[in-house]
């Protein structure tokens, strides 16, 4: 009598959304390759640059995805990145400490942030937006307290890491006829590893599934005997860790510490996660989706740069128009899919 509910559920609405995102990314990128073929958009290195430039954001986005799945949010990540960069730069340049100490400091800052914010959110039940807003203020202010000067990192080992190219077995010939092999930096590998690990964690560990349960319904998760507080706490710590790590990757790319660094990065991370299908209300999201969210944002920026004749303000407007187009299309597709499903229910 109720077998009509059965079947055709394999592709649930969430994986459908992810598919749409991936498809749209491919369409956009291929369109760019055709339109801007003569401007090098079709080169493999152009694609790899998306990863190179966004490695830090990717790791931070993964952390954001984790807290967003629990129904939380973290808008401190941009400032934490700045703090991490500043701490790393300061410790290496002004204190003469080693790169390893800097890495430890970066991740340490991230974890401490995770612990404090996590405690406030999970155990004192304070709204995550506010806790992390305060966190954002604090980190930005602390960056200024450490140093208001720009610090350029000149540590040899650091620069060696930052400049260490991993050449890939393919490449292109430039207009002077020189073969240029495609390359990536180690940061890309770390970032992709983070995506893979978080994906596995979300899908195949108890902790991962608890995150989804809490995001779906905190009350229910509690009633089903899950430790909601602890899970949330751990989610923020994980996020803090990833913010620290991502911050350091960001630092490897930007090679400096200064107060204004990574401003607005939290919004980049949030929108990347959202474009990748993560819901701000919690319970839905994947790291792979976030990966594509980051790639889409990167591609939009890259398209605009390649275009190359927009005034400053048109850049912003174009950026948000594409973003708008994307978000609206996504919402319409998922909406009509929901409707259609209701109609064809029986």
């Amino acid at each position: 009598m109720m077998n009509k509910i059965k079947g055709k559920t394999k592709l649930n609405s969430n994986s459908f959304l992810l598919m749409v995102t991936v498809l749209m990314f491919l369409l956009m990128y291929i369109a760019g390759m055709i339109i801007y073929q003569d401007k090098g958009f079709a080169k493999p290195q152009m694609f790899l640059n998306l990863f190179i430039s966004n490695a830090g954001l990717l790791v931070i986005g993964c952390g954001m995805t984790v807290v967003m799945i629990t129904g939380g949010i973290d808008i401190s990540v941009g400032s934490v990145t700045a703090l991490v960069c500043m701490a790393a730069a300061y410790s290496m340049e002004n204190k003469g400490l080693s790169v390893y100490t800097a890495v430890a400091a970066s991740i340490g800052i991230g974890i401490v942030y995770g612990i404090v914010q996590g405690y406030l959110v999970a155990y004192l039940d304070i709204q995550p937006f506010i806790v992390t807003l305060a966190g954002m203020f604090f980190a930005r202010g602390m960056t200024a307290v450490i140093s208001t000067e720009m610090i350029s990192i000149k540590n040899e080992l650091f620069l060696k890491w930052a400049n260490y190219k991993l050449y890939l077995p393919f490449g292109t010939v430039n207009k002077k006829g020189i073969y240029q092999p495609a390359y990536i930096y180690p940061t890309v590998i770390i970032a992709l590893a983070a995506v893979i690990l978080i994906t596995i964690m979300l899908k195949y560990t108890k902790f991962g599934r608890r995150l989804y349960a809490i995001g779906g319904s905190q009350q229910s998760a509690l009633m089903m005997g899950l430790n909601v507080k602890k899970t949330k706490f751990e989610a923020y710590i994980l996020n803090g860790f990833l913010a620290g790590l991502g911050g350091f990757l960001f630092c490897l790319n930007s090679g400096a510490g200064f107060v204004e660094q990574a401003k607005g990065m939290e919004m980049d991370a949030i929108s990347a996660a959202v474009i990748g299908g993560t819901l701000l209300s919690g319970g839905v999201g994947t790291a792979v989706g976030t990966l594509f969210g980051v790639l889409i944002k990167g591609t939009i920026t890259s398209l605009i740069t390649t275009q190359g004749t927009l005034s400053s303000w048109w850049v912003r407007i174009a950026l948000s128009t594409l973003l708008c187009f994307f978000i609206v299309l996504q919402s319409i597709i998922s909406f009509s899919k929901k409707k259609r499903k209701k109609k064809t229910g029986s």
């Binding site: 958009f41 430039s53 208001t148 400049n163 204004e260 660094q261 401003k263 190359g308 850049v315 912003r316």
Partner: protein
Amino acid sequence: SNSKDVNAGSTPDAKAPTDTSKSKDLITVGFSQVGAESDWRTANTESMKSTFSEANGYELIFDDAQQKQENQIAAIRNFIQQEVDYIVLAPVTETGWDTVLQEAKDAGIPVIIVDRMVNVSDDSLYTAWVGSNFELEGKKAAAWLDAYLKAAGKDKDEVNIVDIQGTIGASAQIGRTKGLEDAVKQHSSWKLLAKTTGEFTQAKGQEVMESLLKQYGDKIDVVYCENDNEAFGAIDAIEAAGYKVGVDGDMIVMSFDSTNAGLSDTLNGKITLNTECNPLHGPRVEEIIKDLQSGKTVDKQKYVEEGIFSFENSVPSIKIDGVDYPVTQVTKDLAAQRAY
């Protein structure tokens, strides 16, 4: 001052009809701009755009980084893939360019830095630099103050200064603050009452000045604003509190940039000294590119010459490190001619 001839040469409105096919003889220039955060910056962008027009034989690929260094890094990587002939970079920050400039060097693309300097471990990473010397600007202002006080016979009195700083960490802020601080150290009668940031904006400048006035009142003799917008705000706050600015008033205001609006205020005496910061870099960068095209060597660093504009004329010129800098008294014409 040299600003006049630059003005004259830099506003050609002519735009050749765009040829869709990329003709071979155009020189491609990728320009990564900081953003459009101030009038100064907009003027800077305009100068570049009008210089590197197709009519002049260039194809300009312009990118606005929206104040984010990471965007600039990404843009330079993009330029490299587009195989531009030259990269022009107006860096958001001085620091952190080693990696990406190395990539440009590997690809054999010369990089010209404008405005702020880059701080890299290897000088060969960029070909040339054009820009303002912010510390010198600060020094000029301080030197003028010294001369002005002497001329007025007030150099023995205690002079109380407040510094409304720019956005903390910006090169302009660092240089201008340093210029003042060094001078304060050398003058025992000068006292820096407070320094706090007005973030280069009028609104913050006003708010900060309001607070300073409550703390120090008319004890303040000199308000050192690190750009014109801050000066406008500060002047509003001072006047609202019932004090008078200017040479005969309760305190004098010093400012930087010498924008059109700034010079008007200098003309009417509200700003007593306005040190120029010239945004019209386009022609200078073009010069460098032309030299490079014809195989000449170019100066590695080239400071832009910048004027000093004053309301009054008690100080005709100042001397810093043995170099003379003339001080120009602002005239109506001068103020009106400012394009930015």
